[in-house]
């Protein structure tokens, strides 16, 4: 499972960075989304994976006696997912607006010279 996750994370980061380096704005957005998901999985992986041991203390005991799944990484990921959801939806609206103004998807067209530039 760990190996699978490591490969997944590597693919997500690599493809995300590849997309970030494209000139198209949509690909830029995709790149940020992919890298963000890679980071979320990275937290999950590095938090330690303990299958089948929920962090619930048995009724008969008062403390944990064996290893349990750490709930903190999942809380962190949940927070990160919610945040990135909000920010990505903002970015999508922004890029759509930019496309409407420029009628171009190319990042190189973003440098409309102002009159101040001589």
């Amino acid at each position: 499972m760990e190996l699978l996750l490591v490969i997944m994370i590597a693919i997500l980061y690599a493809s995300g960075i590849f997309m970030l380096l494209r000139r198209s704005m949509v690909r830029l957005l995709m790149g940020i989304i992919l890298i963000g998901n890679g980071a979320n999985l990275l937290i999950f992986l590095l938090g330690g994976i303990t299958p089948g041991k929920p962090p619930v203390i048995a009724e008969t005991k008062s403390v944990f006696t064996e290893a349990y799944a750490d709930p903190v990484p999942q809380a962190l990921i949940l927070t990160a997912i919610v945040i990135s959801f909000g920010i990505q939806s903002f970015a999508i609206v922004l890029l759509r607006q930019v496309y409407r103004l420029l009628e171009s998807d190319d990042l190189d067209d973003l440098n409309t010279p102002l009159e101040e530039d001589i």
Partner: protein, 505 residues
């Protein structure tokens, strides 16, 4: 004991922002509410600062979950003074916005978002938890995304795309670093990390994590070679927004950097050399960029970058003098940079442009305003009794005390970029104030003169307010230096901080 005062600087902006949302589309009540909110925030920040100065580090555990498990809010001298200076800038910009932000913008969410931005800043300064810091950073960038694109002009959209994408990338890098830190230590509390990180066997991985943090905060605070988003986006929004960005947003990156690299990581020789070279590059590229720009706001944007280099270099030298100088410069810079963009806003109101070749004759038509700007400019350039001078002495001292080759270059860069700053400001003074107004521009109507007295007051008063704080920093430098030195001591010896949060060492 639960110390509720810590959370109040965050709460006051949350409440003001939320209440303002109920007045959607009604600028006038929002303006009044915003002024009240920022003024209250200033009083609270004063109270917090005084209490921290008299009683030492204050801690609040959210929901009373004790330190390594819950989220703690910590106010030491550094964070409480950052909150204090943020509240000054917030009050000034809120006052300026009353006349400087058009009713159309204010009808939409300008004021609520402005307060959410200040809330995020205060939260970032006060939190004692690494992941919580990430969340506050996201609050800040989310609010700043809206502020930078609100209005929807073409230039704003173009600047917005660059700003949004680079900041998102910085957040992801920051998150990656947090993931590695959590994987190594199993804790995210800053005080707890300060104890556990040095005991980790795999120090190589920790150094890499430190570099990831440096890159993440480096993009946010616009250090060389990661600053390109700043000059291409900061000139696009209205001056009030640009002022709050210039004064506070890059500085929160510097704050996080200072916090991380004194509490969690301690720069070794290799890191020191790298950070010094980066700070040198930041100073030089910022200074040289400022020379060629003919637009006031763009020139000021490059000056922001230039002066970030001073503080980052102070961090790398890592002595009490250097850290004290860096922190002092941070306070001075927050006030000055906010003020510069407010001044650019007033100039734009008067002449209708911020393009320097088209400006001129302001000394003749507005002599009192020119005098006010002169105070700010002299402080920024670091003329002896004023505020820019004192931190630079400390930085020079620390740079000379350190004999490594990198620190020699840092001192050279400091001298060179100070000179260039002086040159750039002199050129700006000549172009904007002394030169005769070009004949082609004489017909351009003055939008400042016909304003009502109250509106004029709300544009000029914030500049006077910030300039008088700058004057105070310069003329009563003894007191500010004591605070800065105490902060430097806290940074070099984080034991009181750790003890206050965890209850033990």
């Amino acid at each position: 004991m639960i110390q509720h005062l810590i959370i109040l600087p965050v709460l006051v902006h949350l409440i003001t922002g939320t209440v303002n949302l109920f007045f959607w589309g009604k600028p006038q009540p929002q303006r009044v509410m915003s002024l009240l909110g920022t003024f209250t925030a200033m009083l609270i920040a004063f109270a917090l600062f005084n209490q921290v100065r008299s009683e030492g580090v204050m801690v609040m555990h959210a929901a009373n979950w004790k330190a390594p498990f819950g989220i703690s809010f910590v106010a030491d001298t550094f964070s409480s003074s950052m909150v204090l200076f943020t509240s000054f800038a917030g009050f000034a910009v809120s006052l300026f916005s009353a006349a400087g932000i058009s009713a159309v913008r204010a009808q939409y969410a300008f004021y609520p978002i402005f307060h959410f931005l200040l809330m995020g800043l205060n939260g970032a300064f006060l939190t004692g938890d690494l992941f919580n810091l990430y969340v506050w950073f996201e609050v800040i960038i989310m609010a700043s995304f809206v502020l930078i694109t609100l209005g929807g002009s073409k230039a704003q959209m173009e600047g917005g795309v660059k700003y949004v994408s680079l900041n998102l990338l910085a957040s992801v890098i920051f998150l990656t670093a947090i993931a590695i830190v959590y994987g190594l230590t199993g804790t995210l509390n800053l005080a707890d990390l300060a104890i556990t990180l040095p005991n980790i066997k795999n120090q190589g991985l920790i150094n890499i994590t430190a570099l990831l943090f440096f890159i993440g905060f480096g993009i946010k605070s616009a250090v060389f070679p990661l600053y390109f988003w700043l000059p291409s986006s900061y000139h696009t929004p209205p001056s009030a927004v640009a002022a709050i960005f210039a004064g506070l947003l890059t500085k929160v990156g510097v704050y996080a950097m200072l916090r991380m690299f004194t509490l969690l990581f301690h720069p070794d020789d290799f890191m020191t050399a790298i950070i010094l070279i980066i700070s040198l590059g930041t100073m030089l590229t910022g200074a040289l960029g400022a020379i060629i720009k003919t637009d006031l706001k763009r020139m000021f944007s490059y000056l922001i970058i230039c002066h970030i280099g001073y503080m980052v270099g102070g961090l790398a030298l890592f002595t009490q003098a250097a850290l004290g100088g860096a922190v002092f410069y941070l306070f001075h810079d927050m006030m000055i940079k906010t003020n510069l963009f407010l001044i650019a806003g007033v100039i734009k109101k008067i002449r209708g442009t911020t393009n320097m070749p088209k400006l001129g004759g302001l000394y003749h038509s507005y002599p009192k305003f020119a005098l006010l700007v002169a105070i700010v400019i002299f402080s920024l350039a670091g003329t002896p009794p004023l505020s820019g001078f004192w931190p630079k002495i400390y930085l020079f001292q620390a740079g000379f005390a350190n004999t490594s080759w990198a620190s020699n270059y840092y001192v050279i860069g400091l001298i060179f970029s100070s000179l260039i700053t002086l040159y750039v400001l002199a050129k700006m003074w000549k172009d904007v104030f002394w030169k005769k107004q070009p004949d082609t521009q004489i017909h351009v109507p003055d939008h400042f003169q016909p304003l009502s007295f109250m509106k004029k007051l709300s544009l000029i008063l914030p500049i006077v307010f910030l300039a008088s704080i700058t004057l105070y920093i310069g003329l009563d430098a003894e007191r500010v230096l004591t605070v800065a030195n105490d902060i430097a001591k806290e940074m070099l010896n984080p034991k009181p901080y750790i003890k206050a949060v965890l209850g033990h060492l």
